[in-house]
Symmetry: C2
């Protein structure tokens, strides 16, 4: 951590002023602060904030930011706390700005297909709300209790990126509060905009280091008629990955193409106590398709099946019932909780060009073996996003070696044209690997952008980039 940073202290006057803004019961200084001390990152360090404040609206956020900026007190914005990179933890102390009270769906605009939500609305709440209007929010980062503000802050991805892209592609506009307390609105209910720099896109993925998101305008679509899942075993990951470009080049656009290896399947079976069909094969593609009707689904499924069988698939399993379908999706979704349950040192979130996944996995396995650390993998084959869980055997040696192993993995991924975080974000935990993906000019440019927003470096200090405050 940067020793140069000198922040202001939380004084009793500041506490009183915050209480005057947000209401006394929305300022926490006691033991409840403990609940705001970590996110869901594996083995993440904890830090109890000096204070938690829960604003009720953007005006209150603006007033809080003004006070914090004047007093040079760190502000760490927190949504549902489901992050995986230590992004919402107050390692420099100061204030956790918990958005939990700003949880209203403000509007669902059926004519323009836009949902306007406050940041603490969860994915689950949004899915449910838009359904009533016959509309659909297609992004599926998996963790449905995640807050949309957090999804925007990390540019969450998930399983439907092959067809739909990531959060970035669904945010039409934002209301944000700058560190100075200024409120700005970016974008709007339109898809075309060439009016100055795109502040919306710059704030997406900035992990709370530039501004506080107080409102999000999300693009909606219509609900697909039908969805189906194909579960396709192969004798090797190489064969499985090799089938992916062949599917896409046919003009078939699945919603998602996931891969799992045998050890990942076993891990999930152990965790859930449910057997997964065809579980004895080496590698699997799980392909999600959407179509207007049964005919379209059937045509896509049979085309995909044909391509995969030509590429060496052992079988093509299409679950007959909604329940069987649900079980398969669960097998993929429970990958991370199962790994956490067994104990993991860390999880990588590497992205490589999708044609390189199998090559990457070969190299990753070699590196894992060198260190004697077990790696269990699954990921998004359609978009090149690989999650590697480094399993914890409980020894101190492995714990010490984990960052070294991760460095090697990231170097291989970047050398293949990839990057170090696809969807989890950099936060505090992946910060030390940033310079593997970015050169000095890029990091230095990002720091200058950070200063343009936040000259006093009060916004989520120590996350994504290390800013030397003494130079400001």
């Amino acid at each position: 951590m940067d020793k140069q940073i000198r922040y202001g202290r939380i004084t009793s006057t500041l506490v009183a002023n915050l209480a005057a803004i947000a209401g006394e019961k929305n300022v926490l200084t006691g033991d409840e602060r403990q609940n705001y001390s970590r996110d869901e990152a594996p083995g993440s360090d904890q830090a109890v904030p000096d204070l938690v404040v829960k604003p009720g609206n953007s005006r209150e956020v603006a007033e809080i930011m003004k006070l914090a900026n004047e007093a040079r007190v760190p502000i760490v914005v927190r949504g549902a706390g489901t992050g995986l990179a230590g992004g919402a933890v107050a390692f420099y102390g100061g204030i956790i700005l918990s958005m939990e009270r700003m949880n209203r769906i403000l509007e669902i605009d059926r004519h323009n297909f836009v949902a306007t939500v406050e940041p603490a609305v969860t994915l689950e709440e949004l899915y449910r709300a838009v359904e009533e209007y016959g509309l659909y929010y297609p992004l599926y980062p998996g963790e449905k209790s995640a807050a949309l503000g957090g999804n925007v802050a990390t540019n969450a991805g998930g399983m439907r990126a092959v067809k739909y892209g990531v959060t970035r592609h669904f945010v039409l506009g934002l209301e944000v509060v700058l560190p100075t307390g200024e409120i700005i609105e970016t974008g709007g209910k339109f898809v075309k905009c060439s009016t100055g720099y795109d502040l919306t896109q710059l704030i997406i993925g900035s992990e709370g280091t530039l501004a506080v998101i107080t409102k999000v305008l999300l693009r909606l679509t219509t609900r697909p008629g039908k969805t189906e899942i194909l579960f396709i075993p192969f004798n090797s990951l190489h064969e499985a990955i090799g089938a992916v470009p062949d599917i896409l080049v046919r003009g078939i656009v699945p919603v998602g193409i996931e891969f799992m290896e045998k050890d990942a399947i076993q891990m999930v079976e152990e965790f859930t106590g449910k057997e997964i069909p065809l579980h004895s094969h080496e590698a699997f593609l799980l392909i999600i398709v959407e179509g207007a009707d049964d005919d379209e689904i059937q045509r896509m499924s049979s085309d995909i099946g044909e391509v995969c069988l030509n590429r060496g698939a052992v079988d093509v399993y299409i679950p007959g019932s909604e329940r069987a379908k649900r079980n398969l999706m669960e097998a993929r979704e429970k990958f991370y909780p199962a790994a956490v349950h067994l104990g993991i040192l860390d999880i990588a979130d590497v992205v490589v060009p999708r044609s390189r996944i199998a090559d990457f996995m070969v190299e990753a396995r070699k590196i894992g073996e060198e260190y004697g650390i077990a790696l269990v993998a699954c990921g998004h084959a359609g978009d090149g996003n690989v999650h590697l869980c480094m399993m914890d055997d409980g020894t101190e040696l492995h714990r010490k070696q984990a960052p070294e192993l991760l460095t090697q993995l990231f170097k291989v991924g970047v050398a293949m044209g990839g990057t170090v975080s696809g969807e989890h974000g950099v936060g505090s935990i992946k910060k030390k690997y940033l310079d593997i993906a970015l050169n000095e000019s890029e990091i230095s440019l990002m720091k200058r952008i950070k200063r343009a927003f936040d000259p006093n470096n009060i916004m989520n200090p120590g996350k994504v980039l290390d800013i030397d405050s003494s130079k400001s």
Copy 2:
């Protein structure tokens, strides 16, 4: 223009140094500079640059930028010169950096669906090149001679935004040269990225004010099986626009939904000398659909026809031949050249939420009548982008009043939740209207971002934002 700006002069040493970098024949100081003095904006002011240099690769660009930055000489990047906002004109003198020699398609990656191109590759060249691989670049800004670097710089939109979005959604990564001469690469052959701030998206749409684009990675798709056009007359624009949400809410996603009014049709007929079917009706939707096969096309077309007839459409015309199809597309594409031929004062590129287009047009007509200036409109009904040509009657009065009229139009559009430029960019011509769409905090933040890239304000000065160089 900003009187505070003091730029360096082009010395004979600088000319010699530039010749040493790019080759003597690629440095123009004579009459040929005249060809670089304007873009395609209506009535755009001209300015002959002091010098034109044509670099051959990004290393040369980097060396040129270093020299220009040291000498504090303005750099205006120019692609094919098809811009409509005076963005590529050197109003402050200095150097036009013409990218025309950097026109190679570097790679078409069939496995990852990515084209890597130099900035001067035109849309037409890209369309042709990817077709050979069975791939497709679906964006269609209309002007096929436009360079892709310019498309990226203005975030070009066009007719297929309803289904595909705009240029922003197809750029996966960039190589750019910063004003300091540093070369950086952003993004890559992947769709997911949460690794620091999104510099790719920030540079897209920045109109040459932040960095020089030297390489573009573009996402490709597969070619749709079939396309069809529906041409649907209505008795009023309100009825036509009213049909749009009904089409979309059914789950039909056309590629584009365009609207034209009777006067626009007449103008184009006069210009091309070709009669357009059903031309006596008041307003038209031109709907482009894509599908896997004839069946899908037929189903979509019949659904769209039904919705439109329910909403008051007079008829649904589906051209029988490729030639008739081509003629209809041409009717829409020739709108702007036809207007220019007749003589126009200016063209607005307003965006409003798509449900507000008809309301906007009612207000726009009223304002036009107040000033006695004829407005001819067409635009993108599916994405709320309206182009209003303010026709020139040759009087000095109207010429003087044009900016006032445009101000009124923009105010109405912004009050309806829209913005002042959807796809043409701000450049020099729309700069004075920027504060209608953006508040002081936003403009000031954009200026700070500009400084983070370009502290000496050498990149395309006087475009998008006015920077006071004396303060730097």
